[in-house]
Amino acid sequence: MSFSANLFIDLEQMLQYQFMQHAFEAGTLVAIVAGIVGYFVVLRRSSFAAHALSHIGFAGAAGAVLVGVSPILGLLLFTSVGGVGMTVLGPRASHRDVQIGTVLAFMLGLGVLFISLYTGYATEAYSILFGEILGISSFDVLVTAIFAVAILCAVAFVFRPLLFASLDEDVAEAKGLHMHMLGIVFMLLVALATSIAVQVVGVLLIFSLMVTPAAIAEQLEKRPWRVVVLSVIISLAVTWSGLFVAFYEPYPVSFFITTFVFVLYLLVKFIHPRMKSASVPFLAK
């Protein structure tokens, strides 16, 4: 199959397939959630913790496959427990690189054990590590939708306190906000968002949706809610275009998503600052 001149015909053709419908539904939900939660990950400099959570999720997903349930359930369970655990161990635990790295490696090892106990084949491991959105079931879409809505409601509720605590911890604490509780809420949000995002880009490529779109948006905008909107637009754009291109090309969806978002990142990182500095005299009035 190949591109035609008419994009709409292409889209229509693509969405005739149920697996593509599922992929678009899950991809859209994940992109929205990851774009929003990702802003807080970037703001709190917790991307390594997010990365670690996805690895903890790998063990969960592999364990779920082993006992014969959907990987998403294992992901949700392991990342939630892991996320809360990381916060309870210490208020600053999400910034302790060595400890996080140690747990991360152990969890990957555990996942490898579960996978080998299951079949001896590497296909399941491959899809968990690198994402397999084209193989997503309608049950997975339903679970994703439920958790996406839950995450969005939770974010709307904690948005201002979490933003305040992320920007100015000491003042927020003096104003009566509980840092420890907000830390747990944050890690739970990251855990759930990571779990559903793993379906699209996999454990190893989680950064491409959970961190990079928000990092790009943060460079372009300085009002938090605008950054969040922009971050969602970016993650939606790369997810959709990744799915679209991957339908016509014989390469993995996650490759296209990561590539598109990386190119955008480079463009913003290296071209945007020059545009900005060139336009300063006009802005300064």
């Binding site: 904690v158 948005f159 938090p224 809610w225």
Partner: protein
């Protein structure tokens, strides 16, 4: 304990306060009182427990014994009548968030639920920025500001809830002498025009001396408090700390306190 002389009630009082933790006392038997509209400097060596006083007033820490009252109530977290600028030197260089947003959050960031920029809240933030002469910094990202500009933004952040007390922890530490003087003048202006009480932790008392109503000197587990000319004398400090302390004044009125150093004071008899 100081006896109130005016009709105005004291804003902050402390009676025989022991601060720290059981087993690790930071300072003991401190009694103090601060009135409305006073500018108070808190000085003393590193690690003497200046920030501890703030944590007690903010309700983030409880005294080991003794009583502290703010507006005749025990300090509790989240008191909107206190504006707080914690000790910090830089903001993360990658924090691309505009100043107005930070001040805005200090006004409403403790509220749950989602609310896209209400007009009245943004106006309060802008008013606070105007009060510190930083209205033109409102759209600037935090990571683009100089040390002096940042301190003004932090001051606006503390002022936005219209507090009666300002707690400023080492706002001068990262500033050169000129910027430090400008900031002290600004704080003094805020104290006089709004009739608020400001407690300011500082390393060097000299930029503050012309404006001070009271000084709190914290060292060697003890706290001396009173008018600067009363507290900062060789006799008073020597008697309090039971070591030989000399307060030296130069021709411009600058003060140097000699004899009390970090944790070594006792050995210098």
């Amino acid at each position: 304990m100081a006896v109130p002389t005016s009709a105005q009630p004291e804003i902050v009082t402390g009676e025989k306060v022991v601060a720290g933790y059981p087993g690790k006392i930071v300072w003991r038997d401190a009694s103090f009182s601060f009135d409305r509209g006073e500018l108070v400097a808190i000085i003393g060596p590193n690690g003497a427990g200046k920030t501890t006083l703030f944590r007690l007033l903010l309700g983030l820490q409880q005294p080991v014994s003794g009583t502290i009252k703010i507006f005749n109530e025990t300090p509790k977290r989240g008191n909107s009548r206190i504006g707080y600028v914690p000790q910090r030197h830089v903001i993360d260089s990658e924090t691309n968030v505009e100043c107005l947003e930070l001040v805005h959050l200090a006004y409403c960031g403790h509220k749950w639920g989602f609310h896209l920029s209400a007009k009245s809240e943004r106006k309060a933030a802008l008013t606070a920025l105007e009060a510190v002469g930083a209205a033109e910094l409102a759209p600037q990202p935090l990571n683009a500001l100089s040390g002096g500009e940042l301190q003004r933004i932090f001051l606006a952040e503390a002022l936005v809830s219209n507090p009666d007390i300002l707690l400023l922890d080492e706002p001068l530490s990262s500033l050169d002498i000129r910027r430090a003087k400008e900031l002290v003048q600004l704080v003094d202006g805020v104290v006089r025009s709004r009739n608020v009480t400001a407690l300011l932790v500082a390393h060097d008392i000299n930029p503050l001396l012309p404006y001070l109503d009271k000084v709190v000197y914290v060292a060697n587990e003890k706290v001396a408090t009173g008018k600067p000319q009363d507290v900062l004398t060789s006799e008073r400090l020597s008697a309090l700390y039971d070591v030989h302390v000399e307060v030296i004044r130069d021709s411009r009125g600058n003060v140097a306190i000699i004899g009390i150093e970090d944790h070594h004071g006792d050995e210098r008899q």
